[in-house]
C-alpha cells in the first residue's frame, strides 16, 4: 500500500475537492467548479464520482458501488476494486451496510439513512445544456433564475408525445432556487432525492460538483395540467415479486420471451433471501440476477 496515497489522490487534491463539496452543500443545486484530476480510467466511466468518493473516504468506511442498479457489472466491479487496492477499505453489496455508496444511474430502493453518503457519477451536470449551448449564457440563466427554457423542453415533449416523455435526467428545482440535473437516474427515482443521506454529484470531464444536503426540498418540474409522475414498467419483479421497485426488461429468448427484474440487485436478493418469490423464480430457471 505504500505505492499509493490513501484513496489514490494526494492530500492537497482531496482538500481542494472537499472545499468544493462543502460549498456545494452550502448552496444546494449550484454547480461548483473544481480542478478535476486525470484519473486512471477514461472520462465517462465515473472519473468525477471516483474523485468525490476518494475525497470522502476514511479507512473505517464500507464502500458499495452501483452501476445501473447492479453491483456486479464492469464499472461497479472495477471501481470497487480500485478503492480496495488504493484505500484498502472494506466493500459490500448490501445497501444497509454501506457507509459510502458510489452510484451510476440509480438510487437504491432501500431508503438511505443519515449515516450514509451517496456519490453520483455525472456525465453532464448542466440541465440547460441541450437547450442553450453557450456556457456563458447558461451561467447567467442560473444566476438570474431564468428557467423558462426548461419548461419549453417539457412543452415540446407534451406537444410531440402527448405526455412528458423525458424519462431520465428529469430536471428538478432544489430548495426553490437552482434547477438541477439529477444525473441520468430514471424519473422513478426523483422522489428519492429528498433523503436523509448526503448526496454528492461529481462530473469529472465537466469539472463540476453539486450536492443535496439531507432533507433538502427537491421538486420535479412539471405543468399544472400535466403533473410529474414517477413512472416504471407496469409489472412485478419476476424473481422477487416486488411491485414497487424499478424494473429492467430482459429479453430471454428469440421468440419474444421477456422477464422483468429489479434493477437494484441487492434489493432483489434481499427480498428473495426473505422468501419472496416472483413469477419465474419458483421454477428455478433463467436466474438472470
Amino acid at each position: 500500500m505504500s505505492d499509493y496515497n490513501f484513496a489514490y489522490l494526494d492530500e492537497q487534491t482531496k482538500r481542494m475537492i472537499r472545499r468544493a463539496i462543502l460549498k456545494a452543500l452550502a448552496v444546494p443545486g449550484y454547480q461548483v467548479p473544481f480542478a478535476s484530476r486525470e484519473m486512471p480510467m477514461p472520462y465517462g466511466w465515473g472519473t468525477g464520482g471516483v474523485q468525490v468518493s476518494a475525497a470522502c473516504l476514511v479507512p473505517e468506511d464500507r464502500l458499495k458501488v452501483i452501476d445501473q442498479g447492479a453491483d456486479d457489472t464492469t464499472n461497479a466491479v472495477s471501481i470497487r476494486r480500485f478503492f480496495e487496492k488504493t484505500a484498502g477499505v472494506a466493500t459490500t453489496g448490501r445497501t444497509s451496510e454501506a457507509t459510502l455508496i458510489q452510484t451510476r444511474h440509480r438510487i437504491p430502493e432501500e431508503p438511505l439513512t443519515r449515516d450514509q453518503i451517496l456519490v453520483y457519477q455525472v456525465p453532464i451536470p448542466e440541465p440547460l445544456r441541450f437547450l442553450e449551448p453557450r456556457e456563458t449564457e447558461t451561467r447567467k440563466m442560473h444566476a438570474l433564475e431564468e428557467y423558462g427554457l426548461v419548461h419549453v423542453k417539457l412543452y415540446e415533449d407534451i406537444a410531440r408525445h402527448g405526455q412528458i416523455a423525458t424519462s431520465y435526467a428529469y430536471p428538478v428545482k432544489v430548495e426553490g432556487r437552482y434547477v438541477m440535473d439529477p444525473s441520468p437516474i430514471p424519473k422513478f427515482d426523483n422522489p428519492k432525492l429528498e433523503s436523509e443521506a448526503i448526496q454528492l454529484f461529481g462530473a469529472g470531464r465537466e469539472q463540476r460538483i453539486h450536492a443535496l444536503p439531507p432533507h433538502c426540498k427537491v421538486v420535479s418540474l412539471d405543468f399544472e395540467d400535466h403533473p410529474f409522475e414517477a413512472s416504471k414498467a407496469d409489472h412485478d419483479c419476476d424473481l422477487c415479486g416486488s411491485g414497487t421497485s424499478y424494473l429492467d426488461e430482459v429479453i430471454v429468448d428469440d421468440a419474444g420471451g421477456r422477464m422483468f427484474v429489479c434493477s437494484d440487485t441487492d434489493y432483489c436478493e434481499t427480498r428473495r433471501g426473505a422468501g419472496h418469490r416472483g413469477r419465474l423464480a419458483a421454477t428455478g430457471q433463467e436466474d438472470a440476477a
Binding site: 423558462g148 412543452y155 407534451i158 406537444a159 400535466h226
Partner: protein, 256 residues
C-alpha cells in the same frame, strides 16, 4: 404626457470610429418611429444600444416602467433589464433565425416568453400560442412544426407572434421586411400595421426601405455617418426633404 422612451445624447463609439453620436428623441405611447439611412449609418448600432444589446458610451435611455415611472435603462441592473426585455419590450430581428429557436416547434417558440414569465399550465400556453399563430396568419395545424419547415415570410410572422405574446409596450424592429419578396412584404406590413393599431404599441423601426416607413412610421429620423441629420413627421420628411442627404435618399427610390 410622459414619453414611453426618452433618449438623450446617446453615443456609441467603436474605438476611434463613431457608431452613433449624440442621438436624442422622445417616443410617446402608441407612436411608431422610423429610422432610415444607408448601410453603416449607425441605425442598427442605435437600435442595439436602445434595446440594451450593446453598451452605449454615454447618454441616457429613459423608459417609462410600469412600477416606477421613468428610469434610466443603462443604470438598471442586468436582471431588471432582462426582465424588461422579456415583458415590456420585444425585439424583432432582421433574420428570423436570430430571433427564433429553430429546434423548437412553433407553439414552443411562442410559448417560451409565457413560460419565462411564469406560465405553468400547458393547456393555457397552447391556447395562447394557437391564438397568436392565428393572428399572424399561420394555420393552426402548423403549431407543432419547427420553424425550419416554414417559409421566410412565415418565420418572420412567427417571430413577431413570439415577441408580442406577452403584450409588450415597446417593440424594436431591425429591418423586419428585409429579405422578403414584395408581396410577402406587403402582407407583413399590413399585419404589423394592424397589430400596432390594435395593441397600441410603440415601436422603433430601423429600415432602409422608405416604403416601409411611409406605411408604418408616424415620425422619421434620417441618419448619416452616425448622426441624425433630419427628423420630423414622416410625410413632411419624405415629401419635403431639407437636408442634402435626405434629398438624395428620397430621389434614389425608383418610382414604380
Amino acid at each position: 404626457m410622459t414619453p414611453l422612451l426618452q433618449v438623450k445624447g446617446l453615443t456609441k463609439r467603436y474605438g476611434a470610429r463613431i457608431g452613433c453620436a449624440d442621438v436624442s428623441f422622445d417616443l410617446y405611447p402608441g407612436e411608431v418611429m422610423g429610422i432610415v439611412g444607408e448601410s453603416g449609418s449607425g441605425k442598427s448600432t442605435l437600435l442595439n444600444c436602445l434595446a440594451g444589446h450593446l453598451e452605449a458610451d454615454s447618454g441616457h435611455v429613459m423608459f417609462d416602467t410600469r412600477a416606477e415611472g421613468l428610469r434610466d435603462v443603462r443604470a438598471m441592473s442586468e436582471p431588471e433589464r432582462r426582465m424588461l426585455a422579456r415583458t415590456d419590450w420585444a425585439f424583432v430581428h432582421q433574420n428570423p433565425r436570430d430571433g427564433l429557436r429553430m429546434g423548437v416547434s412553433a407553439g414552443g417558440n411562442v410559448g417560451e416568453r409565457l413560460m419565462a414569465v411564469g406560465a405553468r399550465h400547458y393547456g393555457d400556453i397552447r391556447a395562447q400560442a394557437q391564438d397568436w399563430l392565428g393572428r399572424v396568419e399561420i394555420a393552426a395545424d402548423r403549431i407543432d412544426d419547427r420553424p425550419t419547415a416554414f417559409s421566410g415570410g412565415m418565420q418572420q410572422r412567427l417571430q413577431i407572434a413570439r415577441n408580442l405574446v406577452t403584450g409588450p409596450r415597446l417593440v424594436f424592429m431591425d429591418e423586419p421586411t428585409g429579405g422578403l419578396d414584395v408581396s410577402v412584404q406587403a402582407r407583413l406590413l399590413d399585419l404589423l400595421r394592424g397589430l400596432v393599431r390594435e395593441m397600441g404599441l410603440s415601436a422603433v423601426i430601423v429600415t432602409h426601405d422608405l416604403a416601409v416607413v411611409r406605411l408604418l412610421a408616424h415620425r422619421l429620423m434620417v441618419m448619416k455617418s452616425g448622426h441624425v441629420v433630419e427628423a420630423g413627421l414622416t410625410d413632411q420628411v419624405l415629401d419635403d426633404p431639407q437636408h442634402g442627404y435626405t434629398q438624395l435618399l428620397v430621389s434614389s427610390v425608383l418610382q414604380a
